[in-house]
Structure formats: C-alpha cells, structure tokens
C-alpha cells in the first residue's frame, strides 16, 4: 500500500504487520492502540482509540450546577480535585461570582499539591519501570550504589551502603516470593533496558520512598478539603473557615497549627523533589540520550490554557503563573493567544469518533457540543462486533472525540506548558529548561521527545512545589493582615440567577489542558461538556485526516521485539495515563502473544 501523508505532516503506511495493545490504560475509559510495523520493526502507522464511553455529560444534565463538582470528581481516580476545581470555576464564570483572595490561594495550593503528587506517582510508579529494571537491581553492589547516590545527590541523607543493602534484600524477598505485583509482566530481559544495576537499585529504592512519601503530600489536600480521598469544594470559594485562634478539632477551621503542618510538608516536598526526583530523572535520562523517539506533535503544535491565577478572579494570561498559549507548526517565535469562548478556536469533531453530529464535516464548540453515541465499525475492521481484532481507522474508531484548536491537532501537558513558557521567555521556565539541557548536554530539540515529556514533568513538579510555598506564604500574610474570608455566598441562591447563562472553567490538570463548558437554564444544567487532556492527546483522526498526539508520537519508533512493545508503553506513558491495569498484546491473527502490564 502506498504511503499517505497527513495534512499535519506525518507519513502513514499500513502495509506492515499490525500489533495491537488493548487495553493500554483505563484513563477516562479503556484505551487501545494499534500500530503497523515494517520489516525493520519500525512503527509506520498508529491508531489510538478510547474504547469506553464516559457518559459524563449525560449524567450532569438537569442537575444543580452547584453540585457538578461532586459528580465530576468521581469520574476519574486521579484528577479528582482538578475536575472539581474546573467545575466550580465554570459555574462561577457563568454566574459572575468572585471568590476571596484566600480561596484563590487555597485552591492554588490544592491544585499545585495535586500536580506534585501526580507527577511523583507518575514518574516512580507508572513510568519508571519503562526505563528501570527491578530484576537487574538485584545484581547491584550496594557500596557502588551508595557511591552513585552520593555523587548525583550529595545532600540526600539516605545513601549508605547498608541502606541500599536492606532495600535490595527487601526487593529480593518480594520478587522471590513469586508474586511480582507491580513488577509482573515486565520485559526484564529486553535489550531496551540500559541502566547499570546500581542505577536500577537506586531508582527502585526511590520507588519505595516515593510510595511512602505520598502520605505527607496528601495531608495538604485533607487539611484544606476537609476530607481524605474526596475533598470538598464550593462554588464561591472554599469550604474551610479560617480561625487563627481556633484549636484543633474534627472538621475544624484552618488555624496556625494546621498551616504550620502544611508548611512543613511543603518544605519536605521541595527537599524530596530536589534531592531525589530531579537527580534520578537526570541520571536515568543520561543512559537513554540516544533514545530520542516519541516527539510526534511536540515539535509542531502545542496548547496550554494556563492556570494558577496569582490574584483572585483574574483569568487573563498575564495573571496566570502557568503559561497560556498555542504554538503552531513549531514556530516558537510566535505564541498565539487562546480564547476558550471563541467559537472558532476549540472545536470537537466526530467523523472518526463513535458519536453523531447533524453535520460531521463541521466541528462544534463545547458550548454547543452534543454527545450522541453512534457505535459503528468501518467495513475494513477485522473480527466480530463484540471482539474486534483490528479497527478500521478509515471510519469511526474511537469513543474519544477529536478536539482541534483552529483546526489543528494539539499536544497538551507538561511538555506543552514548558515549551510555551520557554517560547514566551518566562524566566522560571527558561532557567529550568536550560538547566536540564546543560546537565544532559543536549540541544533544545531533545525536548521534543518521550524523554523531553518526562523531563518537563519533573521540572514542573519542582516548580509547583515552590509555588505551593509561595501561595502558602501569601495566604498566611493575607490572614495576618486581617482578611479571613474564604467564601462569597452572594450569588449562591438560585433565585438570584438569570434564566439562561453560560460559562467556562479551565485548569491545567497534571496531564494537560482541561476545560468544562456549562450552560445553565432555569437554575439547572442544560448542557455540560468536558474537554479533557486525554481527549486532546488521545484524539483520533479528524475530517481532514490529521492524526492526534498519541498517534503521532509512536511513528518512526523502532520496536526491538514486537511481542514486547516496551517502546510503545514508554511513549504512551510519557503522556501520563492514569493508573495500572492489565494489557493484552495480540498478534494479527488474534493470538495472544503476551500479557503486558501498563504501569
């Protein structure tokens, strides 16, 4: 078959063997990925599909808009708080509600804390095992590991040979018990793993440390959200009262003692990121510098809505500490402004998605979005309707819509934010990016890769931890100046609302730009549309044939062993799929080749 060039500049060739990975992850529903590889095992075509309908929009219709946050935070197991924040912002935008400064600071602290937590868990528990081999760690010399640790992070106190010997023994016991758990189904003999045993042991040790450190990070959201696992949110502010003279009690208001606890956790977080996460990131990357695959759309089209408003209620680009903008065709000297209200900017298309539009040649802005399922397989699909072996990407093939910005497929996420911030000359971003490029001795182009995506996430974790400190200081100063307001209930009563209003709320979720568009009619939700980061990155083709970020990122990657597609997982994971689940790799004839674990 001849090669097809997509309008966004990628060559697709479907003639080679098809490899199917299903499901890749359960983020926002189940995901599946199919690729064609040529005779040299290089990926020449990629198809990414969401295989389950979320139905979120339907659940919210007719509900009280002030309740929407509680529903959206139940949709996904990881972005709980981010969805809730996006939702209350959408309702506040629609009803013109201003929130107090303290509420803005507290929301930012919660959002930044979630960024740090998510990035840390992603790096160590979901992504590290694509680069780190825990079985190989058993061969490490604890003394040499200690020397390596002291070299890459002199300030890290946990670096003695005895410490690494103990951890090694613990991992050995765990692996030898026969139930590998998270290490199960790894490709531990695959030549794609490049680390020496000592680096593997160091990284696995920090895998355990990071698991332990979670409990500290979580206290921040529990204190401000009032409830562990599912924090409370409030349209008009935050649901926690401030009383600096107050004593600790169950469900108590924010007092100095609790703020001091947040302060100490924030300091510990900064230490962990600077002494463990960043040194590990650089050490691991230094062994993979020749693995520069996975760029895809990153060197072309990037989008960020921006987030973390410095002052309350000002959502203009100038006031957002996390940058907003769009880059098209790799032109870093021109960052376009982004307007989420403009009907010509963000639009969703469905010609390759299992939804019906009245006119599928056109995209719909989320305010006018419709969510009507239409499950139809193309004539070239293989298998049966309940057991698909190969999708037909020429027809509808995904439950994910195809969002486009001014018609372009875009990548969103930490790398998009960092490239946009860098292109805008944002001092903090430029310093961080230049630091990592210098440390690894690579050019800026190296950022447009799977590793670049992983590096940007680490840099952002550090940035977010410091910003968390900034907003905590700001909160304390504001309280000390006598302002203890945390909520504005002026427009909370629906009888004061206009008959019909619409609004948009946005955040930068750990894995990318997140927007909720709401229409309220007669005090009830009339239409609610979420465009989530996975919709952007995992988008199928559009009416022009443009491929999405996941699809583009897999092209031209060499797969050492097609039955062990660690390279595919590496790149897909670099976009931060949510959590672990089992994966089956099927060969062309549907025979199961191997069960892989998507971590």
């Amino acid at each position: 078959m001849s090669v097809v060039t997509t309008p966004n500049g990628f060559n697709l060739d479907t003639s080679g063997q098809r490899v199917v990975v299903d499901p890749v992850t359960r983020i926002e529903g189940h995901m599946r990925c199919e690729v064609n590889i040529d005779e040299n095992n290089v990926i020449r075509n990629a198809v990414s599909t969401g295989t389950m309908w979320r139905g979120l929009e339907v659940i919210l219709k007719g509900r009280d808009p002030r309740d929407a946050w509680a529903f959206v935070q139940r949709i996904c197991g990881v972005c709980t708080g981010t969805h809730a924040l996006t939702s209350v912002r959408a309702v506040e935008d629609a009803l013109n509600i201003n929130i107090p400064e303290n509420a803005n600071s507290i929301r930012n602290i919660m959002q930044l804390s979630l960024q740090v937590h998510d990035h840390l868990v992603h790096f160590y528990h979901l992504h590290a095992l694509d680069w780190v081999n825990p079985v190989n760690a058993l061969k490490a010399d604890p003394k040499a590991t200690s020397a390596l640790q002291q070299k890459i992070s002199p300030k890290n106190p946990r670096s003695s040979p005895g410490y690494f010997r103990d951890v090694q023994a613990r991992i050995r016991k765990f692996i030898e018990s026969g139930q590998l758990g998270p290490f199960k189904n790894g490709y531990w003999s695959n030549p794609a793993y490049k680390l020496p045993p000592e680096a593997d042991l160091m990284a696995v040790t920090h895998y355990l440390e990071a698991l332990d450190f979670q409990k500290d990070i979580m206290t921040v959201r529990t204190i401000f959200g009032g409830k562990d696992t599912h924090p409370n949110w409030l349209v008009g502010g935050v649901p926690c009262a401030i009383n600096m003279d107050g004593v600790m009690a169950a469900g108590a208001p924010i007092n100095m003692e609790r703020l001091n606890l947040v302060k100490s956790v924030t300091d510990k977080t900064i230490d962990f990121i600077e002494q463990v996460y960043i040194p590990d990131l650089l050490a691991i990357a230094s062994f993979y510098k020749d693995w520069m695959y996975g760029g895809g759309l990153a060197s072309k089209n990037l989008l960020s809505y921006g987030d973390i408003p410095d002052r309350a209620n000002d959502y203009s680009a100038e006031n957002l500490l996390m940058p907003r903008g769009a880059i098209i065709n790799g032109k870093l000297d021109e960052v376009h402004p982004v307007d989420l209200r403009n009907p010509d900017e963000v639009q969703e298309f469905v010609p390759h998605s299992w939804y019906a539009y009245p006119d599928e040649a056109k995209g719909l802005h989320p305010w006018d979005g419709v969510t009507e399922p239409n499950y139809k397989l193309g004539p070239n699909f293989k298998g049966t309707k309940t057991n698909i072996q190969e999708l037909d990407e020429g027809a509808k093939y995904s439950w994910i819509k195809a969002p486009r910005w001014r018609g372009h497929a875009m990548e969103v996420g930490p790398l998009a934010r960092y490239v946009i911030g860098y292109a805008q000359g944002n001092k903090e971003y430029v310093e961080q990016v230049d630091y990592v490029l210098k440390a690894l001795d690579v050019p800026l182009e190296a950022m447009f890769s799977t590793l670049g995506r992983t590096a940007a996430r680490g840099l952002e974790a550090k940035w977010a931890a410091h910003k968390q400190k900034y907003f905590l200081d700001k909160l304390i100063a504001n309280i000390k100046a006598g302002d203890t307001a945390t909520a504005n209930s002026e427009s909370f009563d629906p009888s004061t609302w206009p008959a019909e209003v619409k609004g948009v709320g946005f955040t930068e979720a750990p894995r990318g730009a997140l927007g909720h568009w709401i229409r309220i009619k007669d005090t009830r939700i009339d239409n609610y549309q979420c465009v989530v980061p996975t919709t952007w990155n995992g988008s199928p083709r559009d009416s022009q044939g443009n491929i999405g970020a996941y699809e583009a990122s897999l092209l031209d990657t060499k797969v050492e062993r097609p039955e062990e597609p660690v390279e595919i997982l590496r790149t897909l994971h670099s976009f931060d799929p949510c959590l672990a689940c089992s994966t089956h790799v099927m060969s062309e004839d549907g025979e199961e080749l191997a069960e892989v674990k998507v971590r």
Partner: protein, 241 residues
C-alpha cells in the same frame, strides 16, 4: 466514632473501605455499604471507615496502616446479579484482579502488592463483594437486588470483625441520612431524587440530536452489524478466540 477506653490494650488497626464508582449504577455498592455501616454502628478509634471511590495508588497509605482490612466492592464473579460473595485472605487479590468489567481506575490487587512491598500488608483481609446487575446506566443508582445486599454485607463484615475481637456498637438510633463519609451532594436519596427524568435527560445521549429529524438512530443495530460483517473478506469474518 467512640473514644478508646483508657484501659484498653493497644488494639489492631482496622480499615473498612468501600470502593467503586457512585456514578455507574451498581458500581456504587462498596461506597454505599460503608456509608450505611457508619450510620448503623460506631467503633472505637482504632477502626477507620473510608470512602475509597475509584482511588488507586492513593489508597496504599491507608491500606499500609491497617492490620485488618475489609473491602466492600462490586465484583464480577460471573454469578447471577445481586449474589453476595465473601472472600478471605490470600484469595482476595485473585478475585479483585479478576474483574474485567469494573470501572475502577486501578486494580486493587496492585494496591495490596505495593503495601506488601513496603512490608506493610494487612495481616487479615476480607472482601465482601456483590455481583452487579447493571453498570451501563450513567448517573443511575443501585438496583434493588444489589441494594438489598447492603445489610447482609454489613453483617458479614461485623461477624469477621468479631472473630478478630473487634466489636461494633449498634447506635441507639440510625444516624440521619445526611451523615455521610462521602459528601452531601452524593447522598443516595439526593442522588436518586434529583436525577432528571429520562425524557428530560435522555440516558443514552443528547435529546436534541435524537429528536432532530436529520438524524435517526439505527433501527436494527444487530442487523446492520451483520450486514457489515457479511461484506468482510472471508478470513476476517470468522469468530475470534
């Protein structure tokens, strides 16, 4: 939760966890069950009741802190809908890993393995699962067959606790409906009562399109699919493994 008696020995720490997604009909069983347990009984301070939702790795810390772990969950055992199943000890991870239809974001199996890696796996494990009747009802609530298993499931949990010397005190009066481990918005009564009618919020899609004369739902989906399959090349149309 009650105060720990000053004469009490250091006690085993207990975590009672409800997991699942409230938004997908019977997937909400675990969270509803632990919430009801909290309304009916009180425990000493070494017992924690938690709405785990669909959280995965974020639950590891709670699991590590527990000596005894009880999980309420909707689990697929290929049994008739509404069947309750009690699984204990080493069998628990196997059952939790077996679920294919669950909408949980991570395997709870993984959470247990991570706790074990930290040398902190709970000593005693009990899973009280119920086979879901319906999951494909977005915004829907528990089906009666599943809902009526909440009280029996609580009894199973209490019996297990008693066998480990952990006692629950029945409250003189059931706590009011609005006392919840989740949040008030998600109260079962409110969740169900405020659900708009099917006419108002079509549960399979968007009424504006469905009622739009320009588009029609396929009249016979299966027939259409059969037609598609018939036109496939011979080697592709066979049933797969």
């Amino acid at each position: 939760m009650g105060e720990l008696s000053e004469f009490a020995e250091p006690q085993k720490r207990v975590l009672i966890l409800g997991i699942g997604n409230l938004l997908w009909a019977d997937e909400g069983f675990g969270v509803r069950a632990v919430d009801e347990l909290n309304r009916l009984y009180e425990f000493s301070s070494n017992v924690t009741l938690l709405d785990g939702g669909t959280q995965g790795i974020y639950l590891v810390q709670h699991v590590r802190e527990a000596d005894i772990l009880i999980v309420f969950d909707a689990v697929d055992y290929n049994l008739p809908g509404g069947t309750m199943k009690r699984v204990e000890g080493e069998e628990v991870p196997k059952f939790m890993g077996a679920k294919k239809i669950s909408l949980h974001q991570t395997g709870f199996q993984e959470v247990l393995a991570m706790a074990e890696m930290m040398d902190d796996r709970p000593e005693h494990l009990l899973l009280v699962g119920v086979q879901p009747v319906e999951l494909e009802d977005f915004g829907g609530s528990l089906r009666p067959e599943v809902s009526e298993k909440i009280l029996p499931a609580i009894d199973v949990a209490l019996e297990y606790l008693a066998s480990h010397g952990v006692t629950a005190t029945k409250r003189a009066q059931r706590l009011p409906e609005d006392v919840t481990l989740a949040c008030n918005v998600m109260l079962q009564s409110r969740y169900e009562d405020e659900r708009p009618s099917e006419e108002e919020a079509y549960r399979q899609g968007d009424a504006r399109i469905v009622n739009d004369s320009r588009w029609r739902a396929p009249e016979d989906f299966d027939a259409e699919m059969t037609e598609v399959v018939r036109h496939l090349p011979a080697e592709a149309s066979g049933a797969s493994s």
